[in-house]
């Protein structure tokens, strides 16, 4: 059984291969921290994020209030931590929806080819024509304020980006001999796609999911900033940036600043993760 032990050892080494990449480790730590805030943010928060106290309004960072206080004296640190959940869960849902739908469409188009591919690809191109933010605003106008409408709209708006990249990855994969070998064994197209094609393009799918998360977050926070999504007093980061705006002129940029720092940290970390996951060819900026 020594061979199995050796095998297990080899596997562990592969898992830790990313450990030498300091930027990646740092970004992973940021994302882990954000995940903890999402799960336990309101519990970790030192004070009630919604407790108003006008006597201590617009204070700078201090030991009592790590990030200072806002215009109504609420603790900004607590509000930023509590805001992690609405700020991050929305983009995760967008990413899940767009990745699932995009993967489905991309793999289907690559597998069927011919007319189905043409129809699906042209359909995606029509969707490209709508800016995600505009689609989300339209959804809010029709369905009313709240998270549901913009999340659904942004998931749909991000689908074609994922679908296009997954389609090309799946096309490349399905032309490889092992797919022909599997189909001549008599496997159905569905089995081949699920068991053979998808596991082989899994890295690309994960990279796209991470990238879609960042785009979803940018757009969703913009919607929240505009006051069309999450409603105050829920301390969403987009809402915080908006609320802190007026205080900037009064010499207290803390609320906007710290909320923005959290947004930037999250998005940069997720982008780096996506780039490292997908290799350089699928990473980075959408054309």
């Amino acid at each position: 059984m020594s061979s199995i032990a050796a095998y297990a050892g080899r596997r562990r080494r592969v898992r830790l291969a990313g450990a030498g990449d300091r930027v990646l480790v740092l970004c992973a730590l940021v994302l882990v921290a954000m995940a903890i805030f999402v799960l336990f943010g309101s519990l970790i928060a030192p004070q009630d994020p919604n407790a108003v106290n006008l006597e201590i309004a617009l204070q700078g960072p201090s030991s009592a209030h790590l990030f200072g206080t806002d215009a109504t004296g609420r603790d900004i640190f607590s509000r930023v931590l509590a805001g992690a959940r609405p700020s991050i869960l929305g983009p995760i849902l967008i990413s899940l929806g767009a990745t699932a739908l995009g993967t489905l469409i991309g793999v289907l188009a690559a597998w069927k080819r011919g007319v189905s591919d043409t129809l699906l690809s042209r359909g995606m191109e029509i969707l490209f024509a709508f800016p995600g933010l505009l689609l989300a605003m339209m959804a809010v106008a029709i369905l009313g304020r709240g998270l549901t409408a913009p999340v659904v709209a942004l998931a749909i708006a991000n689908t074609p980006w994922v679908a296009r990249i997954i389609r090309s990855a799946a096309l490349r994969e399905r032309s490889l001999p092992y797919v022909a070998a599997a189909s001549v064994q008599g496997f159905s197209g569905l089995t081949i796609c699920l068991r053979h094609v998808m596991p082989n393009i899994a890295r690309t799918i994960w990279a796209q999911a991470a990238l879609t998360f960042t785009y979803g977050m940018t757009d969703l926070l913009a919607i929240n900033y505009l006051g069309l999504g999450v409603q105050p007093p829920t301390p969403d980061w987009g809402v915080l940036v908006n609320e802190g705006q007026n205080s900037i002129l009064q010499g207290a940029p803390w609320e906007t600043l710290f909320a923005s720092v959290f947004i930037v940290l999250t998005i940069v970390s997720a982008t780096v993760l996506s780039a490292r996951l997908g290799g350089d060819d699928t990473a980075g900026i959408r054309a």
Partner: protein
């Protein structure tokens, strides 16, 4: 023996640079149950394309004419459902490069047991037991441990055995082996071939062996089909072909091999370069390189006809046949 596979007047055209180009013309042959047929030819002669046509694996946009029938069923017009059961129960295909033909992200065990479980309805334990038995049959040591390994952890020879085991597991009635030994070293080659040969004898399955190795063809197969430029040149019993080829192309191929007993200064060569099937002219594709060609060789498409118990497409075969035997008859060790 009744014919298991019947290919008649098969023609295939594939999309190339936007236009349909013929790669196979007038391919006609049969394989009986338990028979081994070798398909021999240079690169680009259309041998792999023939196998792909039989497995319905032609590239998208290609057009076929003629007929392929398997146990009486027409293959080219099968519905998707019939095609799947033909692929599961009828044929098995062994590919040239096992490393490219096995899903790299799944352990070998999954690759082997999956068809048995999803297509044969075996339980996980049953499939596992069957696969271990098969791996043992094809000479894979410590089969239990291999099941947990990934394709990249196995050598080419082992991986080709794994692929053969996967094909044999489904007990197909016909195996199409597309240069199964090209990626392997010589000693492994003979092992792999004897595994296939044993399986053919024990289970009475048909075998189509695609190769460019004339010796291998003669050693394993009853009958050899020689292809060139997308056409069949000659078809006859392997043993006879070496002594009495029916086509100048076969004779030239036989003459250009190194020999164990003769030590000539230079090996014979066939002048010119091998034609790929898409470039083949209307007439005999070999006419340009053939020392014995006449003008009429290029004038009309060659037609296969029976001769001396085999078949040939050379229009001069009757007159040439007696002179085509290798110069030093029976010299080959």
């Amino acid at each position: 023996m009744t014919a298991l596979l019947e290919v008649s007047q098969l023609g295939v055209e594939v999309q190339l640079e936007g236009s349909l180009r013929p790669v196979l013309r007038d391919i006609t042959f049969t394989v009986a149950a338990g028979e081994a047929l070798a398909v021999v030819g240079e690169s680009g002669s259309g041998k792999s394309m023939t196998a792909r046509a039989i497995g319905r694996l032609l590239p998208p946009g290609s057009r076929t004419s003629g007929d392929i029938s398997f146990a009486g069923e027409p293959v080219l017009t099968m519905s998707p459902g019939a095609l799947r059961s033909y692929r599961t129960d009828g044929i098995g295909m062994i590919f040239q490069d096992p490393r490219a033909s096995i899903n790299p992200v799944l352990p070998v065990g999954d690759f082997l047991t999956e068809p048995l479980r999803t297509l044969r309805g075996m339980s996980r334990q049953q499939a596992r037991a069957r696969v271990v038995e098969l791996l043992d049959d094809v000479g894979v040591s410590r089969p239990e441990a291999r099941l947990r390994q990934f394709p990249h952890e196995l050598s080419g020879g082992l991986l080709q055995r794994v692929m053969i085991a996967a094909v044999l597991a489904m007990e197909p009635r016909l195996v199409l082996a597309d240069e199964p030994t090209t990626a392997l070293d010589v000693t492994t080659q003979s092992d792999v071939m004897s595994i296939l040969d044993d399986a053919r004898r024990d289970r009475g399955m048909g075998l189509v062996l695609i190769t460019h190795d004339l010796e291998l063809a003669a050693a394993v197969c009853d009958r050899t089909l020689v292809m060139y430029g997308g056409r069949i040149m000659e078809d006859q019993a392997s043993a006879r072909m070496h002594d009495a080829p029916l086509h100048p192309y076969t004779a030239a191929l036989l003459a250009s091999r190194p020999s164990l007993t003769l030590k000539p200064e230079y090996l014979e060569v066939i002048p010119g370069r091998p034609l790929s099937a898409v470039e083949a002219p209307h007439g005999c594709p070999f006419a340009d390189r053939c020392a014995l060609a006449l003008e009429r060789c290029s004038a009309s498409a060659p037609v296969m006809r029976p001769l001396h118990g085999g078949r040939t497409s050379c229009i001069r075969a009757e007159t040439l046949a007696p002179s085509l035997a290798p110069a030093a008859g029976g010299s080959r060790g």
